[in-house]
């Protein structure tokens, strides 16, 4: 930064209260025109609330908002769009059943003759925007049929079609493959070179440090620091985010490896409607007691499908053999896997794990309810005693067993779900990307928990979209690429580079 640029956005002394919480407390954010400004903070730090105020979704309780030097007050997203601010939300807001072009122009449809919708002109404009974004999607494709990465580009095209001068991206790469992330970074650089200002929210330090000119750190709804990227380090920023220095995890001490529990041979899961013909092909590996087996792979490599087959949760029939303690097994329903002492914590907590209408105790006790029966009927007291154990052991922070599960943070919800499965006394624990969307502090707690369970003799299979996580926790790592097993690496031989090489192998 040689000459300080004028400010594109200034948010001064912003405070926002929700019933029971102060989401933002006197937060100041100043973004210079044409820069990439990263906003970092744990979940609940107030990043998303701040961005929703900037884009007119919320109105601040007090504070001043200036856009391009003049005071602004937005009563809705339309106002913000008119001032040239577009936001790409973390959870994509697309209508899946509409074609891509209709989504890009949703609410601002172009009209032609007689006021009828002019699909042609919208499709042409879409085509132009997509070519800018190196995206080969046709504007006529049904949006729901696109991959997540392409859907994200549809959102970006929407922002571009607004001719927004300020684009807010809320954790855009959380669902992207490596290649898609790289493409997104190129897009961001192109936008910046055209003078667009980018506000970039992310957990991932490597991205932030590659892209951002400056970084603002928020913690617990307060502004901690704004610094030039060149003047700091990832470690320092993470420290500000959590308010303490995160020590390197000491999980590398040898864990005693026990007997072989699970043996998978030549596992193949067909996929007839796909040109590749299979979701998984000829997968073979072993799992021992007291061992964490990491499964690496890009999105779509078949990690989730592999765990689903082992847990009996998949719909399709597979070939090959899976042996549990030397006995061949084939589960057709998760309940059979449960009985064989296999547990699975699934990938999408909200969609596949939580019961929003049950309280904390109800969510934890669900799989072991028969233990809470007294005289043949459920006893609430027995159920609470049952749930209290795992709630304490996994370190769930909750106001009580009656608390609504939806009121807990993501990390605590995940601990509740792990606790639910611990009540079934599992011997094999399948963890599908268990720390996704969980903040740094809670991640460290989950690592400690997983390590402890493993030391108690569980066999753990862990998938993760973050390689450092696998390298931290796993004893061995198998790598999947497009449904095939391309490498099996001991921890000593595993590096990010080697894993990526295997994960992208044809």
């Amino acid at each position: 930064m040689t000459t300080p640029l004028p400010f594109a956005v200034r948010m001064l002394g912003i405070t926002k209260r929700f019933p029971g919480v102060v989401a933002l407390d006197d937060v100041t954010l100043e973004v210079r025109r044409g820069e990439v400004h990263a906003i970092c903070g744990e979940n609940g730090a107030g990043k998303s609330t701040l961005m929703k105020i900037l884009s007119g979704v919320y109105q601040p309780d007090c504070g001043i908002l200036e856009v391009d030097g003049s005071a602004a007050s937005f009563t809705g997203t339309r106002d913000a769009e008119r001032s040239g601010i577009a936001i790409i939300h973390q959870e994509l807001a697309l209508v899946e059943d509409l074609p891509v072009a209709a989504n890009v122009f949703l609410g601002r449809e172009r009209r032609g003759l007689l006021g009828l919708v002019d699909d042609r002109s919208m499709e042409d404009e879409c085509e132009r925007l997509f070519s800018l974004l190196e995206c080969s999607v046709s504007p006529r494709d049904r949006t729901g049929s696109l991959r997540v990465g392409d859907q994200q580009l549809v959102e970006i095209a929407k922002a571009l079609s607004l001719e927004a001068s300020i684009v807010v991206m809320d954790e855009p790469t959380s669902a992207l493959t490596e290649a898609e992330s790289v493409r997104l970074e190129r897009t961001i650089q192109r936008l910046v070179s055209q003078g667009t200002t980018i506000l970039y929210i992310s957990h991932k330090m490597d991205e932030v440090f590659r892209l951002a000119d400056r970084i603002t750190v928020l913690r617990d709804g307060r502004h901690v620091k704004t610094v030039d990227t060149s003047a700091t380090s990832p470690r320092e920023v993470t420290g500000w985010m959590v308010g303490r220095d995160i020590a390197g995890h000491g999980f590398h001490q040898e864990r005693p490896r026990g007997a072989k529990i699970l043996e998978v041979r030549q596992l193949t899961l067909p996929w007839p409607e796909h040109p590749r013909g299979y979701r998984l092909k000829d997968i073979s590996f072993d799992l021992h007691a007291g061992e964490i087996l990491g499964v690496a792979g890009l999105m779509g490599a078949g990690r989730t499908e592999l765990l689903e087959v082992l847990f009996g949760a998949g719909e399709d029939t597979w070939t090959g053999t899976v042996s549990l303690y030397g006995k061949s097994v084939r589960f057709d329903h998760p309940s059979e896997a449960c009985r064989a002492r296999i547990a699975m914590v699934s990938e999408d907590r909200k969609r596949l794990g939580l019961f929003p209408d049950l309280d904390v105790a109800g969510n934890v006790s669900l799989c072991a309810l028969h233990e809470a029966l007294r005289n043949g009927l459920l006893s609430r007291a027995a159920e609470e005693d049952l749930a209290a154990g795992p709630v304490r052991d996994t370190g769930v922070k909750t106001p009580g067993l009656h608390a609504a599960i939806t009121g807990l943070s993501g990390g605590n919800q995940q601990k509740c779900i792990i606790g639910r499965w611990l009540l079934t006394k599992p011997e094999v624990l399948l963890l599908d990307d268990p720390t996704r969307g969980i903040d740094v502090g809670a991640k460290a707690e989950l690592y400690t928990l997983i390590d402890r369970l493993c030391r108690q003799g569980l066999g753990v299979i862990l998938t993760s979209s973050e390689l450092p996580e696998l390298l931290t926790l796993a004893d061995r790592i198998i790598v999947l690429a497009e449904g095939r097993l391309t490498a099996e690496l001991p921890r000593s031989g595993a590096t990010e580079a080697r894993i990526m090489e295997a994960a992208t192998a044809g």
Partner: protein, 420 residues
């Protein structure tokens, strides 16, 4: 190898300190909304007693009470079934037709077993009555199984599957009635008279349906709150995919829920036959499925599943019948025309009230923008028309103008509130 016991929970001392217990949101087993419903029932009783020119609630409470009790029990029995289906995340639109089919199956069975007595309007052997009742309940089980199969195996949405049976079962019941009478009796008939003393006794003793309803309510309450199956029903309705991944046999839980729904409707169908001394598939129970769903919704069930209680549904059924009875007391003649209107208005008002807290706190507007502006005359016109038809033209005009003014004031107040 020895399985490592990883479950310290089993050994944890009872009442562990890990999590303090929060105060529960229920007093004496009832939630806020249910207390409100109870209060509304009391208010409706009092008001009707005062407004009714005959003051029949004060002069002759027993007649009104038995009437309301019988109607509540007959609605409540299959509203409990609807509650279980709705909590499980489904919907059963077919219960009105199931009522007709159940009555028909019962009557046809009795006709087939003792044709001379049935045709001569004479008592039949008690084993014949038992066979009729058993056949009706078995039909409920079969229809529930059909629903569960259509929904879990064919994967029809519950709305479509039970819409098909709503239309189909009534037609089936009519065809069954006609072909059975054609085969057994000299003439084809669209109804079968049932004069057996057992049915007569049920008609004349209101405590029978009330006791059956009470026992069924207790059973359903225990089922939903104190059994593993009940918890699985809640879990299924709250998040079906998560329930499956938690090892719950979701298709079996659904099977149970739809059988329970259809069998309670079959049970109600027997009371309809007893009450009217006839199995009449053309009109019996027609449209009553919506009353059952309304009772459940007024009682706090969420149609998206996972939420609902038995006390809520019981109170919802009582409330609906009390309001319907109140209107018939006030209007005196031809009140049955207004039954649907009452149910509709009660559902809208009850659900609006349950959101009242959110409405007040969130600052959401009831009459926003152009839509709100158009809603003001629409609502006033309906209110005025209803009152003028029931209480005379002057009252109607007064109500219409009054609503117009009140809603107008609400609109002005809302705009002012948001402007500041």
């Amino acid at each position: 190898m020895a399985a490592t016991n990883l479950n310290p929970a089993g050994r944890s001392p009872p009442g562990s300190q890990a999590a303090p217990r929060l105060r529960r949101t229920a007093w004496f087993g009832l939630r806020n909304g249910e207390w409100a419903l109870l209060a509304a029932i009391a208010v409706a009783f009092l008001l009707t007693g005062l407004v009714d020119s005959n003051h029949s609630y004060f002069k002759d409470p027993w007649v009104s009470l038995t009437d309301i009790a019988r109607n509540t029990a007959m609605l409540g029995i299959f509203a409990l079934g609807a509650t279980v289906v709705i909590i499980a995340g489904g919907i059963d639109l077919s219960s009105g037709s199931m009522i007709a089919l159940s009555g028909t199956v019962c009557a046809v069975t009795m006709l087939a077993l003792s044709p001379t007595e049935m045709m001569g309007l004479k008592p039949v052997a008690s084993v014949v009555v038992a066979a009729g009742v058993a056949a009706a309940l078995l039909t409920g089980f079969l229809v529930g199984t059909l629903h569960a199969w259509l929904i879990t195996a064919v994967r029809l949405p519950p709305f479509i599957a039970t819409l098909a049976t709503l239309v189909g079962l009534r037609s089936f019941a009519r065809a069954l009635c006609e072909s059975a009478t054609h085969a057994i009796t000299p003439t084809k008939s669209a109804l079968i008279n049932v004069y057996d003393p057992a049915f007569k006794a049920v008609r004349e003793n209101v405590w029978v349906p009330v006791t059956v309803f009470a026992i069924l309510a207790l059973f359903t309450w225990v089922l939903l709150t104190r059994t593993v199956l009940g918890r699985h029903i809640h879990a299924l309705g709250g998040n079906e995919q998560a329930a499956r991944l938690a090892g719950i046999r979701t298709e079996n839980v659904k099977w149970f829920a739809y059988c329970f729904g259809a069998m309670t409707a079959a049970l109600a169908g027997l009371f309809y036959v007893a009450n009217e001394s006839v199995a009449q598939p053309m009109n019996q129970g027609r449209g009553h499925e919506l009353n059952a769903i309304a009772a459940a919704v007024v009682g706090g069930c969420s149609l998206s599943g996972g939420v609902g209680t038995v006390p809520g549904t019981v109170l919802g059924a009582i409330f609906l019948r009390v309001i319907i009875d109140a209107v018939s007391k006030i209007i005196k003649t031809g009140a049955d025309v207004y039954e649907g209107l009452i149910v509709g208005v009660v559902v809208v008002i009850a659900v609006t009230f349950s959101q009242f807290g959110a409405l007040a706190k969130g600052g959401r507007r009831l009459l926003p923008g152009a839509l709100g502006l158009c809603a003001i005359p629409t609502l006033s016109l309906f209110a005025g028309a209803i009152v003028s038809m029931t209480a005379g033209q002057n009252g109607g005009i007064a109500t219409g103008v009054g609503s117009l003014l009140l809603l107008g004031l609400l609109r002005v107040w809302e705009s002012r509130r948001d402007a500041t």
